[in-house]
Protein backbone atom coordinates (compact mmCIF):
# COMPACT_ATOMS: atom_id res chain seq x y z
CA UNK A 1 0.00 0.00 0.00
CA UNK A 2 1.39 3.41 -0.95
CA UNK A 3 0.01 6.59 0.61
CA UNK A 4 0.90 10.22 -0.06
CA UNK A 5 3.28 11.51 -2.68
CA UNK A 6 6.52 9.57 -2.68
CA UNK A 7 9.56 11.71 -3.46
CA UNK A 8 12.33 9.89 -1.59
CA UNK A 9 13.07 6.22 -1.08
CA UNK A 10 15.58 4.27 0.94
CA UNK A 11 16.49 0.85 -0.39
CA UNK A 12 18.05 -1.64 2.03
CA UNK A 13 20.48 -3.86 0.13
CA UNK A 14 22.62 -3.40 -2.97
CA UNK A 15 22.19 -6.89 -4.42
CA UNK A 16 20.28 -7.77 -7.57
CA UNK A 17 16.93 -6.64 -6.17
CA UNK A 18 18.18 -3.40 -4.61
CA UNK A 19 19.94 -2.33 -7.81
CA UNK A 20 16.92 -3.16 -9.98
CA UNK A 21 14.70 -1.17 -7.60
CA UNK A 22 17.04 1.83 -7.62
CA UNK A 23 17.00 1.83 -11.41
CA UNK A 24 13.21 1.67 -11.72
CA UNK A 25 12.40 4.17 -8.96
CA UNK A 26 14.97 6.64 -10.25
CA UNK A 27 13.39 6.40 -13.68
CA UNK A 28 10.04 7.58 -12.25
CA UNK A 29 11.70 10.56 -10.56
CA UNK A 30 12.15 9.21 -7.03
CA UNK A 31 15.32 10.21 -5.21
CA UNK A 32 16.83 6.91 -4.03
CA UNK A 33 19.49 6.07 -1.49
CA UNK A 34 20.68 2.46 -1.42
CA UNK A 35 22.30 1.30 1.81
CA UNK A 36 24.35 -1.86 2.06
CA UNK A 37 26.16 -2.98 5.18
CA UNK A 38 28.94 -4.43 3.02
CA UNK A 39 31.58 -2.14 1.59
CA UNK A 40 30.81 -3.53 -1.89
CA UNK A 41 27.68 -4.04 -4.00
CA UNK A 42 26.36 -7.35 -5.29
CA UNK A 43 24.81 -9.06 -2.24
CA UNK A 44 25.28 -12.83 -2.47
CA UNK A 45 27.39 -12.39 -5.63
CA UNK A 46 29.91 -10.16 -3.91
CA UNK A 47 31.43 -12.65 -1.58
CA UNK A 48 30.42 -16.30 -1.74
CA UNK A 49 31.95 -19.63 -0.88
CA UNK A 50 34.73 -21.25 -2.90
CA UNK A 51 33.87 -21.61 -6.61
CA UNK A 52 30.25 -20.50 -6.19
CA UNK A 53 28.14 -19.65 -9.20
CA UNK A 54 24.69 -19.41 -10.73
CA UNK A 55 22.70 -22.67 -10.96
CA UNK A 56 21.01 -22.02 -14.29
CA UNK A 57 21.90 -21.14 -17.88
CA UNK A 58 22.86 -17.53 -18.40
CA UNK A 59 19.87 -16.62 -20.58
CA UNK A 60 17.68 -17.27 -17.52
CA UNK A 61 19.79 -15.38 -15.03
CA UNK A 62 20.51 -11.87 -16.30
CA UNK A 63 18.66 -8.56 -16.36
CA UNK A 64 16.16 -8.53 -19.23
CA UNK A 65 17.36 -5.08 -20.34
CA UNK A 66 21.09 -5.66 -19.79
CA UNK A 67 22.29 -8.99 -21.19
CA UNK A 68 25.41 -10.71 -19.93
CA UNK A 69 28.29 -10.47 -22.37
CA UNK A 70 28.54 -13.01 -25.18
CA UNK A 71 31.72 -14.38 -23.62
CA UNK A 72 30.14 -15.05 -20.22
CA UNK A 73 29.73 -18.77 -19.66
CA UNK A 74 26.53 -20.54 -18.67
CA UNK A 75 26.17 -21.14 -14.91
CA UNK A 76 27.94 -17.80 -14.54
CA UNK A 77 30.69 -17.90 -11.88
CA UNK A 78 30.04 -15.62 -8.88
CA UNK A 79 32.90 -13.18 -9.49
CA UNK A 80 31.83 -12.72 -13.14
CA UNK A 81 28.28 -12.00 -12.03
CA UNK A 82 29.52 -9.49 -9.51
CA UNK A 83 31.44 -7.62 -12.25
CA UNK A 84 28.27 -7.67 -14.33
CA UNK A 85 26.35 -6.02 -11.47
CA UNK A 86 29.03 -3.29 -11.30
CA UNK A 87 28.51 -2.70 -15.04
CA UNK A 88 24.73 -2.63 -14.56
CA UNK A 89 25.16 0.07 -11.96
CA UNK A 90 27.26 2.22 -14.25
CA UNK A 91 25.09 1.59 -17.30
CA UNK A 92 21.95 2.85 -15.56
CA UNK A 93 23.71 5.62 -13.62
CA UNK A 94 22.74 4.39 -10.18
CA UNK A 95 26.17 4.44 -8.59
CA UNK A 96 25.55 7.84 -7.04
CA UNK A 97 22.58 6.40 -5.11
CA UNK A 98 24.82 3.90 -3.30
CA UNK A 99 25.96 4.23 0.29
CA UNK A 100 28.02 1.14 0.86
CA UNK A 101 29.43 0.03 4.18
CA UNK A 102 26.36 1.50 5.90
CA UNK A 103 23.95 -0.70 7.80
CA UNK A 104 20.32 0.16 8.43
CA UNK A 105 19.91 -0.57 12.11
CA UNK A 106 16.38 0.61 12.81
CA UNK A 107 13.35 1.97 11.07
CA UNK A 108 10.33 3.61 12.64
CA UNK A 109 7.18 5.29 11.41
CA UNK A 110 7.11 9.06 10.95
CA UNK A 111 3.84 10.33 9.49
CA UNK A 112 3.19 8.36 6.32
CA UNK A 113 6.90 7.83 5.84
CA UNK A 114 9.85 6.53 7.81
CA UNK A 115 12.72 7.52 10.01
CA UNK A 116 15.79 5.30 9.65
CA UNK A 117 18.88 4.92 11.75
CA UNK A 118 21.88 4.06 9.61
CA UNK A 119 25.47 3.57 10.61
CA UNK A 120 28.94 2.75 9.38
CA UNK A 121 31.73 1.45 11.55
CA UNK A 122 32.35 4.86 13.10
CA UNK A 123 29.21 6.97 13.13
CA UNK A 124 25.47 6.73 12.81
CA UNK A 125 22.81 9.13 11.60
CA UNK A 126 19.08 9.42 11.20
CA UNK A 127 17.49 9.97 7.83
CA UNK A 128 13.93 10.31 6.56
CA UNK A 129 12.27 8.72 3.57
CA UNK A 130 8.75 8.55 2.14
CA UNK A 131 9.21 4.93 1.08
CA UNK A 132 11.42 2.13 2.39
CA UNK A 133 12.15 -0.82 0.12
CA UNK A 134 13.60 -3.88 1.81
CA UNK A 135 15.80 -5.63 -0.75
CA UNK A 136 17.88 -7.48 1.80
CA UNK A 137 17.61 -10.92 0.22
CA UNK A 138 16.62 -14.28 1.60
CA UNK A 139 20.14 -15.64 2.00
CA UNK A 140 22.28 -13.15 3.84
CA UNK A 141 21.00 -12.42 7.34
CA UNK A 142 22.33 -15.10 9.69
CA UNK A 143 24.05 -18.37 8.73
CA UNK A 144 21.79 -21.24 9.72
CA UNK A 145 23.62 -23.82 11.83
CA UNK A 146 21.62 -26.52 13.61
CA UNK A 147 21.97 -26.63 17.36
CA UNK A 148 23.88 -29.87 17.91
CA UNK A 149 24.68 -30.96 21.49
CA UNK A 150 28.20 -31.13 22.93
CA UNK A 151 29.67 -28.58 20.55
CA UNK A 152 32.15 -27.57 23.28
CA UNK A 153 33.59 -31.14 23.35
CA UNK A 154 34.68 -31.00 19.71
CA UNK A 155 38.36 -30.28 19.24
CA UNK A 156 38.10 -29.50 15.52
CA UNK A 157 36.80 -26.53 13.57
CA UNK A 158 33.15 -25.76 12.79
CA UNK A 159 32.47 -23.57 9.76
CA UNK A 160 29.49 -22.37 7.75
CA UNK A 161 29.73 -22.96 3.99
CA UNK A 162 29.89 -19.20 3.45
CA UNK A 163 33.19 -19.14 5.35
CA UNK A 164 34.92 -21.49 2.90
CA UNK A 165 36.40 -18.84 0.63
CA UNK A 166 39.17 -21.09 -0.61
CA UNK A 167 38.93 -24.88 -0.71
CA UNK A 168 42.54 -25.13 0.49
CA UNK A 169 41.07 -24.37 3.94
CA UNK A 170 40.06 -28.04 3.90
CA UNK A 171 43.39 -29.35 2.62
CA UNK A 172 44.42 -32.70 4.09
CA UNK A 173 41.61 -32.55 6.64
CA UNK A 174 38.85 -35.02 7.38
CA UNK A 175 35.68 -33.09 6.66
CA UNK A 176 31.98 -33.67 7.31
CA UNK A 177 29.69 -31.44 5.26
CA UNK A 178 26.17 -31.25 6.71
CA UNK A 179 23.29 -30.62 4.30
CA UNK A 180 22.09 -31.60 0.84
CA UNK A 181 21.48 -28.27 -0.85
CA UNK A 182 23.50 -26.31 -3.35
CA UNK A 183 26.23 -25.01 -1.01
CA UNK A 184 26.67 -28.35 0.82
CA UNK A 185 27.03 -30.39 -2.36
CA UNK A 186 29.24 -27.75 -4.03
CA UNK A 187 31.65 -27.72 -1.07
CA UNK A 188 31.68 -31.52 -0.74
CA UNK A 189 32.39 -31.87 -4.48
CA UNK A 190 35.17 -29.28 -4.41
CA UNK A 191 36.74 -30.89 -1.35
CA UNK A 192 37.30 -34.20 -3.17
CA UNK A 193 41.00 -34.55 -3.92
CA UNK A 194 41.84 -31.72 -1.53
CA UNK A 195 40.59 -33.01 1.80
CA UNK A 196 41.84 -36.30 3.20
CA UNK A 197 38.29 -37.61 3.64
CA UNK A 198 34.90 -36.12 2.73
CA UNK A 199 31.61 -37.10 4.36
CA UNK A 200 28.25 -35.70 3.31
CA UNK A 201 25.61 -36.00 6.02
CA UNK A 202 21.96 -35.24 5.28
CA UNK A 203 18.64 -36.26 6.78
CA UNK A 204 16.43 -35.89 3.76
CA UNK A 205 17.24 -36.65 0.14
CA UNK A 206 15.83 -34.29 -2.50
CA UNK A 207 15.47 -34.67 -6.23
CA UNK A 208 18.58 -33.22 -7.83
CA UNK A 209 18.00 -31.76 -11.29
CA UNK A 210 20.84 -32.44 -13.74
CA UNK A 211 22.09 -29.54 -15.84
CA UNK A 212 21.11 -31.57 -18.91
CA UNK A 213 18.19 -34.01 -18.92
CA UNK A 214 19.26 -37.37 -20.38
CA UNK A 215 22.63 -35.75 -20.84
CA UNK A 216 21.45 -33.70 -23.83
CA UNK A 217 18.53 -31.39 -23.06
CA UNK A 218 19.19 -28.34 -20.80
CA UNK A 219 16.95 -28.85 -17.77
CA UNK A 220 14.98 -25.66 -18.41
CA UNK A 221 13.26 -27.41 -21.34
CA UNK A 222 11.93 -30.11 -19.10
CA UNK A 223 11.14 -28.03 -16.03
CA UNK A 224 10.52 -24.39 -16.86
CA UNK A 225 7.90 -24.27 -19.61
CA UNK A 226 4.23 -23.32 -19.43
CA UNK A 227 3.29 -26.89 -20.31
CA UNK A 228 5.14 -28.19 -17.27
CA UNK A 229 3.76 -25.33 -15.14
CA UNK A 230 0.28 -26.63 -16.00
CA UNK A 231 1.21 -30.04 -14.58
CA UNK A 232 2.50 -28.94 -11.16
CA UNK A 233 0.00 -28.50 -8.31
CA UNK A 234 -2.16 -25.68 -9.69
CA UNK A 235 -1.56 -22.00 -8.93
CA UNK A 236 -3.73 -20.08 -6.52
CA UNK A 237 -6.27 -19.10 -9.20
CA UNK A 238 -5.99 -21.79 -11.87
CA UNK A 239 -7.65 -21.53 -15.25
CA UNK A 240 -10.57 -23.95 -15.89
CA UNK A 241 -8.38 -26.14 -18.09
CA UNK A 242 -5.71 -26.49 -15.41
CA UNK A 243 -8.41 -27.25 -12.84
CA UNK A 244 -9.72 -29.98 -15.13
CA UNK A 245 -6.22 -31.41 -15.64
CA UNK A 246 -5.83 -31.72 -11.87
CA UNK A 247 -9.26 -33.22 -11.21
CA UNK A 248 -10.61 -35.61 -13.86
CA UNK A 249 -7.35 -35.37 -15.79
CA UNK A 250 -5.17 -36.10 -12.74
CA UNK A 251 -3.72 -39.39 -14.10
CA UNK A 252 -1.97 -37.27 -16.77
CA UNK A 253 0.14 -35.05 -14.47
CA UNK A 254 0.65 -38.02 -12.16
CA UNK A 255 2.05 -40.08 -15.04
CA UNK A 256 4.20 -37.19 -16.24
CA UNK A 257 5.89 -36.74 -12.86
CA UNK A 258 6.46 -40.48 -12.41
CA UNK A 259 8.23 -40.52 -15.79
CA UNK A 260 10.29 -37.51 -14.68
CA UNK A 261 11.22 -39.36 -11.48
CA UNK A 262 12.20 -42.42 -13.47
CA UNK A 263 14.41 -40.35 -15.76
CA UNK A 264 16.01 -38.41 -12.88
CA UNK A 265 16.69 -41.51 -10.83
CA UNK A 266 18.04 -43.50 -13.78
CA UNK A 267 20.20 -40.75 -15.22
CA UNK A 268 21.65 -39.82 -11.82
CA UNK A 269 21.64 -43.36 -10.43
CA UNK A 270 19.85 -42.30 -7.28
CA UNK A 271 19.43 -45.94 -6.24
CA UNK A 272 23.15 -46.01 -5.52
CA UNK A 273 23.73 -47.66 -2.15
CA UNK A 274 25.27 -45.41 0.47
CA UNK A 275 26.07 -46.08 4.12
CA UNK A 276 23.73 -48.49 5.96
CA UNK A 277 22.12 -49.66 2.73
CA UNK A 278 20.37 -46.31 2.24
CA UNK A 279 20.04 -44.76 -1.21
CA UNK A 280 19.79 -41.25 -2.61
CA UNK A 281 16.13 -41.77 -3.59
CA UNK A 282 13.93 -39.00 -2.16
CA UNK A 283 10.64 -39.89 -0.49
CA UNK A 284 8.64 -36.83 -1.50
CA UNK A 285 7.18 -36.89 -5.03
CA UNK A 286 9.19 -34.63 -7.30
CA UNK A 287 6.31 -32.25 -8.06
CA UNK A 288 6.13 -31.36 -4.34
CA UNK A 289 9.81 -31.71 -3.52
CA UNK A 290 10.55 -29.11 -6.20
CA UNK A 291 9.04 -26.53 -3.84
CA UNK A 292 11.30 -27.17 -0.85
CA UNK A 293 14.10 -24.78 -0.10
CA UNK A 294 16.65 -27.35 -1.20
CA UNK A 295 15.90 -27.39 -4.92
CA UNK A 296 19.27 -27.86 -6.55
CA UNK A 297 21.07 -28.34 -9.80
CA UNK A 298 24.23 -30.12 -8.61
CA UNK A 299 27.59 -29.70 -10.27
CA UNK A 300 28.29 -32.52 -12.70
CA UNK A 301 30.22 -35.28 -10.97
CA UNK A 302 28.61 -35.12 -7.55
CA UNK A 303 26.77 -38.43 -7.82
CA UNK A 304 29.83 -40.10 -9.38
CA UNK A 305 31.88 -39.01 -6.37
CA UNK A 306 29.29 -40.59 -4.10
CA UNK A 307 29.14 -43.77 -6.17
CA UNK A 308 32.89 -44.14 -6.20
CA UNK A 309 33.10 -43.53 -2.45
CA UNK A 310 35.16 -40.33 -2.84
CA UNK A 311 32.32 -38.73 -0.94
CA UNK A 312 30.97 -40.94 1.79
CA UNK A 313 27.25 -40.17 2.04
CA UNK A 314 25.25 -40.70 5.24
CA UNK A 315 21.50 -40.32 5.12
CA UNK A 316 20.87 -39.60 8.77
CA UNK A 317 20.96 -36.81 11.32
CA UNK A 318 23.82 -35.63 13.52
CA UNK A 319 23.03 -36.46 17.13
CA UNK A 320 26.02 -34.88 18.89
CA UNK A 321 29.57 -33.68 18.58
CA UNK A 322 32.28 -35.79 20.19
CA UNK A 323 35.87 -34.89 21.06
CA UNK A 324 37.15 -36.12 17.70
CA UNK A 325 34.17 -35.84 15.38
CA UNK A 326 30.43 -36.27 15.23
CA UNK A 327 28.00 -38.99 16.28
CA UNK A 328 25.27 -39.81 13.81
CA UNK A 329 21.69 -40.78 14.59
CA UNK A 330 22.20 -44.14 12.80
CA UNK A 331 24.81 -45.12 15.42
CA UNK A 332 27.93 -44.35 13.37
CA UNK A 333 30.67 -42.02 14.59
CA UNK A 334 32.71 -40.01 12.10
CA UNK A 335 36.24 -39.01 12.99
CA UNK A 336 36.69 -35.56 11.46
CA UNK A 337 38.62 -32.42 12.18
CA UNK A 338 36.30 -30.02 10.40
CA UNK A 339 32.51 -29.79 10.22
CA UNK A 340 31.00 -27.55 7.53
CA UNK A 341 27.35 -26.54 7.73
CA UNK A 342 25.84 -26.19 4.28
CA UNK A 343 22.49 -25.62 5.88
CA UNK A 344 21.54 -22.28 4.39
CA UNK A 345 20.58 -19.01 5.92
CA UNK A 346 18.00 -17.65 8.31
CA UNK A 347 15.95 -14.87 6.84
CA UNK A 348 15.37 -12.01 9.25
CA UNK A 349 14.72 -8.31 9.49
CA UNK A 350 16.30 -7.20 12.80
CA UNK A 351 15.76 -3.51 11.95
CA UNK A 352 11.98 -3.90 11.66
CA UNK A 353 10.19 -3.19 14.94
CA UNK A 354 8.11 -5.99 16.43
CA UNK A 355 4.93 -3.98 15.87
CA UNK A 356 5.59 -3.93 12.12
CA UNK A 357 6.39 -7.63 11.99
CA UNK A 358 3.12 -8.22 13.85
CA UNK A 359 1.23 -6.11 11.31
CA UNK A 360 2.85 -8.13 8.54
CA UNK A 361 1.54 -11.22 10.33
CA UNK A 362 5.01 -12.78 10.50
CA UNK A 363 4.68 -16.49 11.27
CA UNK A 364 6.40 -19.86 10.74
CA UNK A 365 6.16 -19.40 6.93
CA UNK A 366 7.53 -15.86 7.06
CA UNK A 367 5.03 -13.19 6.01
CA UNK A 368 2.76 -13.05 3.01
CA UNK A 369 2.52 -9.92 0.88
CA UNK A 370 0.32 -8.61 -1.89
CA UNK A 371 2.10 -9.56 -5.12
CA UNK A 372 5.01 -10.51 -2.83
CA UNK A 373 5.79 -6.79 -2.55
CA UNK A 374 3.35 -4.76 -0.42
CA UNK A 375 1.17 -5.22 2.66
CA UNK A 376 -2.05 -3.24 3.15
CA UNK A 377 -1.42 -2.82 6.89
CA UNK A 378 2.03 -1.28 6.53
CA UNK A 379 1.88 1.56 4.02
CA UNK A 380 5.00 2.74 2.22
CA UNK A 381 7.05 -0.31 3.11
CA UNK A 382 7.84 -2.54 0.14
CA UNK A 383 9.82 -5.74 -0.34
CA UNK A 384 11.65 -6.60 -3.52
CA UNK A 385 13.40 -9.96 -3.72
CA UNK A 386 11.09 -11.82 -1.32
CA UNK A 387 10.20 -14.42 -3.94
CA UNK A 388 12.30 -17.43 -4.83
CA UNK A 389 12.41 -18.27 -8.51
CA UNK A 390 14.76 -19.97 -10.95
CA UNK A 391 15.22 -16.70 -12.80
CA UNK A 392 15.30 -14.34 -9.84
CA UNK A 393 16.93 -11.50 -11.72
CA UNK A 394 13.94 -11.30 -14.06
CA UNK A 395 11.48 -11.84 -11.20
CA UNK A 396 13.06 -9.06 -9.12
CA UNK A 397 13.36 -6.73 -12.12
CA UNK A 398 9.61 -7.21 -12.76
CA UNK A 399 8.85 -6.60 -9.08
CA UNK A 400 10.93 -3.42 -9.12
CA UNK A 401 9.19 -2.20 -12.27
CA UNK A 402 5.77 -3.03 -10.80
CA UNK A 403 6.59 -1.11 -7.62
CA UNK A 404 7.76 1.91 -9.62
CA UNK A 405 4.52 1.82 -11.64
CA UNK A 406 2.50 1.68 -8.41
CA UNK A 407 4.43 4.63 -6.96
CA UNK A 408 3.92 6.57 -10.20
CA UNK A 409 0.17 5.82 -10.01
CA UNK A 410 0.25 3.95 -13.31
CA UNK A 411 -0.74 0.70 -11.63
CA UNK A 412 -3.73 1.12 -9.35
CA UNK A 413 -3.88 -1.13 -6.31
CA UNK A 414 -7.16 -2.63 -5.11
CA UNK A 415 -8.46 -1.42 -1.75
CA UNK A 416 -6.94 -2.74 1.48
CA UNK A 417 -9.67 -5.33 1.97
CA UNK A 418 -9.20 -6.81 -1.49
CA UNK A 419 -5.42 -6.89 -1.02
CA UNK A 420 -5.82 -8.67 2.29
CA UNK A 421 -8.18 -11.26 0.83
CA UNK A 422 -5.69 -11.85 -1.98
CA UNK A 423 -2.97 -12.40 0.64
CA UNK A 424 -5.23 -14.76 2.60
CA UNK A 425 -5.97 -16.76 -0.54
CA UNK A 426 -2.24 -17.06 -1.32
CA UNK A 427 -1.52 -18.19 2.22
CA UNK A 428 -4.20 -20.86 2.42
CA UNK A 429 -3.30 -22.09 -1.06
CA UNK A 430 0.37 -22.54 -0.13
CA UNK A 431 -0.43 -24.07 3.23
CA UNK A 432 -2.74 -26.57 1.57
CA UNK A 433 0.04 -28.37 -0.30
CA UNK A 434 3.47 -26.74 -0.34
CA UNK A 435 6.12 -28.32 1.92
CA UNK A 436 6.57 -26.38 5.16
CA UNK A 437 9.55 -24.09 5.66
CA UNK A 438 10.50 -20.70 7.00
CA UNK A 439 10.40 -19.16 3.52
CA UNK A 440 7.21 -20.85 2.27
CA UNK A 441 5.55 -17.44 1.96
CA UNK A 442 8.24 -16.44 -0.55
CA UNK A 443 8.46 -19.68 -2.51
CA UNK A 444 7.49 -19.58 -6.20
CA UNK A 445 10.04 -21.66 -8.11
CA UNK A 446 8.30 -23.48 -10.98
CA UNK A 447 5.23 -21.29 -10.38
CA UNK A 448 7.28 -18.22 -11.27
CA UNK A 449 5.66 -17.89 -14.71
CA UNK A 450 2.21 -17.54 -13.13
CA UNK A 451 3.50 -14.86 -10.80
CA UNK A 452 5.16 -13.03 -13.69
CA UNK A 453 1.81 -13.17 -15.51
CA UNK A 454 0.11 -11.38 -12.59
CA UNK A 455 2.70 -8.61 -12.48
CA UNK A 456 2.54 -8.17 -16.25
CA UNK A 457 -1.25 -8.02 -16.32
CA UNK A 458 -1.22 -5.40 -13.55
CA UNK A 459 1.14 -3.37 -15.71
CA UNK A 460 -1.08 -3.84 -18.78
CA UNK A 461 1.66 -5.83 -20.48
CA UNK A 462 0.96 -9.05 -22.35
CA UNK A 463 1.93 -12.18 -20.37
CA UNK A 464 2.36 -14.04 -23.66
CA UNK A 465 5.95 -13.01 -24.39
CA UNK A 466 6.90 -15.20 -27.34
CA UNK A 467 6.90 -13.69 -30.82
CA UNK A 468 6.57 -14.93 -34.37
CA UNK A 469 4.37 -17.24 -36.41
CA UNK A 470 4.86 -20.21 -34.07
CA UNK A 471 4.57 -18.14 -30.89
CA UNK A 472 1.61 -20.17 -29.55
CA UNK A 473 3.67 -23.37 -29.64
CA UNK A 474 6.68 -21.61 -28.17
CA UNK A 475 4.46 -20.32 -25.36
CA UNK A 476 3.77 -23.92 -24.42
CA UNK A 477 7.04 -25.72 -24.81
CA UNK A 478 9.84 -23.14 -24.98
CA UNK A 479 11.06 -21.83 -21.62
CA UNK A 480 11.09 -18.08 -21.09
CA UNK A 481 14.40 -16.27 -21.16
CA UNK A 482 15.16 -13.00 -19.42
CA UNK A 483 15.25 -11.33 -22.85
CA UNK A 484 11.56 -12.11 -23.38
CA UNK A 485 10.78 -9.41 -20.80
CA UNK A 486 13.09 -6.75 -22.25
CA UNK A 487 10.39 -4.34 -23.35
CA UNK A 488 8.60 -4.48 -19.98
CA UNK A 489 11.34 -3.60 -17.50
Amino acid sequence: MIVGKVKTAVIIGAGVSGLATAKCLTQVGIHCTVFDRNPYLGGVWADGYHDFGVQVQKDLYEFPDFPLSEEASHFTPGPVFREYLEDYCDHFGIRECLRLGTRVTMIERKGDGWLLEVGGSESSETIEADLVVVAAGLYSETPNAPNIPKREDFGGEVLHASEIKDISQLKDRRVAVIGYGKSATDIAGSAVGVAEKVHLVFRTAHWPVPRKLLGVLPFKWGMLTRLVAALIPPYVRPSPIVRAIHSIGYPLPWLFWRVVELLLSTQQRLRTQIEHGETLMPETPVEFDAFTEVTMVPRPGLIDFIRSGKISAHRTGVSAFSSNGIDLADGDSLEVDCVVFGTGWKTGYPYLPKSILASLDDGPDGFYLYRHVLHPSVPNLAFVGRASSFMSVTTFALQAKWLAEVVADRVLLPDAEAMQSDIDALKSWKQSWMPEGPARSATLLIHMCHYHDELLLDMSADPLRKRGFLAPISELIVPYRAADFRDVV
Binding site: S239, P240, I241, A244, G249, Y250, P251, L252, W254, L255, R258, L457, M459, S460, A461, D462, L464, A471, P472, I473, E475, L476
Partner: protein, 79 residues
Protein backbone atom coordinates in the same frame (compact mmCIF):
# COMPACT_ATOMS: atom_id res chain seq x y z
CA UNK B 1 -7.62 -48.43 -33.36
CA UNK B 2 -9.34 -46.20 -35.90
CA UNK B 3 -12.28 -45.73 -33.52
CA UNK B 4 -9.96 -44.89 -30.65
CA UNK B 5 -8.26 -42.18 -32.71
CA UNK B 6 -11.64 -40.72 -33.69
CA UNK B 7 -12.87 -40.72 -30.11
CA UNK B 8 -9.61 -39.12 -28.87
CA UNK B 9 -9.70 -36.51 -31.62
CA UNK B 10 -13.34 -35.69 -30.86
CA UNK B 11 -12.60 -35.29 -27.15
CA UNK B 12 -9.51 -33.18 -27.97
CA UNK B 13 -11.56 -30.97 -30.29
CA UNK B 14 -14.16 -30.39 -27.59
CA UNK B 15 -11.60 -29.59 -24.89
CA UNK B 16 -9.64 -27.44 -27.33
CA UNK B 17 -12.74 -25.46 -28.21
CA UNK B 18 -13.48 -24.79 -24.54
CA UNK B 19 -9.84 -23.87 -23.96
CA UNK B 20 -9.93 -21.48 -26.92
CA UNK B 21 -13.15 -19.86 -25.69
CA UNK B 22 -11.58 -19.37 -22.26
CA UNK B 23 -8.52 -17.72 -23.80
CA UNK B 24 -10.66 -15.42 -25.92
CA UNK B 25 -13.01 -14.47 -23.11
CA UNK B 26 -10.24 -13.80 -20.60
CA UNK B 27 -8.00 -11.79 -22.93
CA UNK B 28 -10.16 -10.01 -25.50
CA UNK B 29 -10.91 -6.46 -24.43
CA UNK B 30 -8.16 -6.33 -21.78
CA UNK B 31 -5.94 -3.26 -22.06
CA UNK B 32 -2.39 -3.92 -23.18
CA UNK B 33 -3.10 -7.34 -24.66
CA UNK B 34 -2.64 -7.88 -28.35
CA UNK B 35 -5.99 -8.95 -29.84
CA UNK B 36 -4.54 -10.60 -32.96
CA UNK B 37 -2.18 -12.58 -30.74
CA UNK B 38 -5.12 -13.66 -28.60
CA UNK B 39 -7.05 -15.03 -31.57
CA UNK B 40 -3.93 -16.71 -32.98
CA UNK B 41 -3.15 -18.29 -29.61
CA UNK B 42 -6.74 -19.50 -29.24
CA UNK B 43 -6.78 -21.09 -32.69
CA UNK B 44 -3.49 -22.85 -32.13
CA UNK B 45 -4.58 -24.18 -28.77
CA UNK B 46 -7.70 -25.58 -30.39
CA UNK B 47 -5.67 -27.12 -33.20
CA UNK B 48 -3.13 -28.66 -30.84
CA UNK B 49 -5.81 -30.25 -28.67
CA UNK B 50 -7.46 -31.64 -31.78
CA UNK B 51 -4.26 -33.05 -33.25
CA UNK B 52 -2.99 -34.51 -29.99
CA UNK B 53 -6.37 -35.48 -28.50
CA UNK B 54 -5.92 -39.20 -29.18
CA UNK B 55 -2.39 -39.22 -27.70
CA UNK B 56 -3.59 -37.36 -24.62
CA UNK B 57 -6.43 -39.85 -24.21
CA UNK B 58 -4.01 -42.77 -24.52
CA UNK B 59 -1.68 -41.26 -21.91
CA UNK B 60 -4.62 -40.53 -19.65
CA UNK B 61 -5.78 -44.16 -19.86
CA UNK B 62 -2.25 -45.37 -19.16
CA UNK B 63 -2.15 -43.00 -16.19
CA UNK B 64 -5.48 -44.33 -14.90
CA UNK B 65 -4.18 -47.91 -15.01
CA UNK B 66 -0.80 -47.15 -13.42
CA UNK B 67 -2.22 -44.79 -10.81
CA UNK B 68 -4.83 -47.37 -9.74
CA UNK B 69 -2.14 -50.02 -9.62
CA UNK B 70 0.17 -47.86 -7.51
CA UNK B 71 -2.69 -46.96 -5.11
CA UNK B 72 -3.54 -50.64 -4.82
CA UNK B 73 0.10 -51.51 -4.07
CA UNK B 74 0.38 -48.70 -1.52
CA UNK B 75 -2.79 -49.87 0.22
CA UNK B 76 -1.25 -53.34 0.31
CA UNK B 77 1.94 -52.14 1.99
CA UNK B 78 -0.01 -49.96 4.45
CA UNK B 79 -2.11 -52.98 5.50
Amino acid sequence: MGDFIWIGTAIGTAIGLLNMLFILSSRLGQTGLNQAKTVWQGLWVWALWTVFGAYVLALWLLGVVLLSFSRFLRRGTEV
